[in-house]
């Protein structure tokens, strides 16, 4: 669907709740309020006939900026919808009941950034289902600072000593 028409229809439908911007001819952005999030995704996917691509998020001091990408393939541009889930306890409605393909990406965002998606059919961590410590969200801004620091420079030497200096741990006949 034509870009100007898409912008017009989104503006008509959601009015004050959205802000539409454009960075370049191929990149269109729609900033939305939290409450219309699912309706917006539904509208773009089902009525405007966009393809669903994926989601991403950026962690900020005040909240998590969640975005989903909807390419319009025939007209060669990308529509990005964005919203802001406020901290503490960022929460958002899940769009995976509308778009099945969003299931895993929402699980990943939950695992990495602790964004709780309400009404998600199966909100488990997707990447590290069994070994993940409880309440560990590796990509969160607050957690990142407490990461294990990068290993020391001389770490390799120590390891070499371990291998060559001392007998190896297992035993081969």
């Amino acid at each position: 669907m034509d870009k100007e028409e898409v912008k017009k229809r989104i503006a008509e439908r959601f009015g004050e709740k959205v802000r539409i911007g454009e960075r370049s001819p191929e990149r269109v952005y729609v900033y939305a309020e939290n409450e219309i999030w699912v309706d917006l995704a539904d509208f773009i996917f089902n009525e405007l006939d966009a393809r669903f691509d994926t989601g991403a998020c950026v962690d900020d001091r005040d909240g998590v900026e969640v975005m989903f990408f909807f390419p319009f393939d025939k007209e060669h541009y990308y529509l990005t919808i964005k919203t802001f889930a406020r901290k503490p306890n960022p929460e958002l409605d899940s769009i995976s009941n509308v778009i099945i393909g969003a299931k895993w990406i929402e699980r990943e965002i939950f695992e990495m950034y602790e964004v709780n998606f309400r009404n998600h059919p199966d909100l488990r961590p997707v990447l590290r289902a069994d070994t993940r410590p409880k309440d560990f969200y590796p990509a969160k801004r607050e957690v990142k600072d407490d990461h294990e620091p990068p290993r020391r420079r001389d770490d390799g030497e120590e390891r070499a000593d371990e291998v060559f200096g001392k007998p190896p741990k297992g035993k081969n006949p």
Binding site: T131, H147, E148, P150, G156, V163, P168, N172
Partner: protein
């Protein structure tokens, strides 16, 4: 030399395990089996179960998810087993060494007999690594 080792040297059976590598080492290992390199003519066979294996080829840095499986595989292996690490990641974690989900190179957990560095090592290098290990058997 014991009879098992002598038999092992004639036709080592290899089991290959990926502990979180990027596939390239795995493809190069598989490449050794295909017509250009064709290591099966030397009796080296890739087997489907660790219980049949004489050599354990490991590629990739060890991630937290795969570590318990790696240890279990090693425990299930019939001894003596020779462990060969293929690729820079398995030798030293390579570019991923600071990753939060990486627990360390393979030699932190298992005794390693040979390292084949490279990202990825060429099939020739992998074959050379296996041959060198076999030569150490005397």
């Amino acid at each position: 030399m014991s009879i098992t080792l002598k038999a092992l040297k004639k036709s080592p059976w290899v089991f290959h395990v990926n502990t979180g590598a990027c596939n390239n080492c795995d493809i190069e290992i598989l490449d050794c089996l295909t017509p250009r390199f064709d290591i099966e003519r030397f009796g080296i066979v890739l087997v489907g179960s660790i219980r049949h294996a004489d050599v354990l080829l490991i590629s990739g840095p060890v991630t937290k998810n795969t570590l318990p499986r790696l240890i279990r595989l090693y425990e299930q292996a019939p001894k003596p087993i020779k462990v060969i690490v293929v690729g820079a990641c398995g030798c030293s974690c390579g570019i991923f060494r600071d990753g939060y989900n990486i627990v360390g190179p393979v030699d932190k957990y298992l005794p390693v007999d040979a390292y084949v560095p490279g990202c990825p090592p060429k099939p020739e290098a992998i074959i050379a690594g296996v041959v060198k290990v076999l030569n150490t058997l005397g």
